[in-house]
Amino acid sequence: MRHQRTLMIAALALITSASAATLEKGVLKIGMEGTYPPFTYKDEQNQLVGFDVDIAKAVAAKLGLKTEFVLTEWSGILAGLQANKYDVIVNQVGVTAERQKSIAFSTPYAYSSAQIIVRKNDNAAYKTLASLKGKRVGVGLGSNYEKMLRDAGGINVVTYPGASEYLRDLAVGRLDAALNDRLMVGYFAKSQNLPVKGAGVIEDPQAIAIALKKTNTDLKAKIDRALLQLKADGTYAKISRKWFGQDVSKK
């Protein structure tokens, strides 16, 4: 037992020293998907762009840190944070009570709601989660939307590594509907040629925040301050309008 405890302490020491070292080296490692437009994705020039990318860069700039982006599937993204693969996740992570048990969140930098997505030619009116009963609904594995679908009960939930996979399956008819971020659907309506459209919005606004390890309290305080400064100096509004044509910092 004693031995085990020593090992645990050694492990803890390693973890804390790793998180402290981040700021010393001057690099903020940011976990994100890279396959989730318009939040994080690669553009035609193979550059990582998106709303969350801009937010992450702006925060890092306020902290005087360089950025290093680590791209990973959503399904492994929270595990990667616990395993010290990066310092923070900036990838539309919704603040939930369940997640707060194991990870810490910055002050929210956006609010969004879930929206049902259907094929363009589908006239079925899916307005609420209840209307999806018995349907095949695609969703990101381990996402908050997956939890919403499962909690609703009676829905045939099909999980995928990322949004691009289930939106494609929806488009080709292997799914009846999908559930995702209202902001993403709005972006799609404008700029994608995938034959899908938004249906009912689940009116339950969700706070979106930067996720980090609970032990990283110092970094959390700094990020919170940086987010407040970005909102005060107008940088945030500029980023938000660039991607959504509106300020998404309010509910």
Binding site: L7, T35, K42, E44, V70, L71, A83, S164, R168, Q192
Partner: protein, 219 residues
Amino acid sequence: MNITQSMIDALPVLLTGARITVLYAVGAMLLGLPLAFLVALGRSAPWPPVRWLLDLYVSFIRGTPLLVQIFVLYYGLPGLGVTLDPVTSGVAALSLNVAAYMSVTIRASLDAVGRGQREAARSLGLSSSQTMRFVVLPQALRIGLPSLMNSLIGLIKDTSLVSVITVTELLRSAQLVIARTFEPFGPYLAAALIYWLISSLLGLVQSRLERRLHRPGPA
């Protein structure tokens, strides 16, 4: 958009990913082959605990999916305080995996060299290490080469699994393109062709090596 066009558009990104794929495969080969050899020899070591440990290792690797092994190394180990970066854990998982399979081939090849060959060599006055180097190994290599090369070609394809641990290799590169274009066929097909090309090149090396080893004359 037609498929050829979307394949061509995806190509620059895919080639960057292909470089990473080759890097992982080469890294795993360079570490895996010597490791496989050590394991093969160790499994007939005169110390039972060493043999048991190595038998356990080979059995575990052969009895679990590579994908799970990658997850254990990358996401699991940090629970014990050991945090490996994606390159280290990816190469480690691939080498440990390919080494286990190759060690079995190597052992079988060594065993396939008849006992008489060793006895003859010893009676001619060669030491046991000389017997190994000059008599057993050259013959074992000839026997084991085709299946060793098959393991290496398999390794190229297995690298696609490291896409799950934040590595932007060939498969993940294709997914990044698809996430933007929602045009899956072109990028996936192009990625498949690149894997095929790399494997075929290795296959070519294999047949060259085999022909060379079967040439009569001093080894």
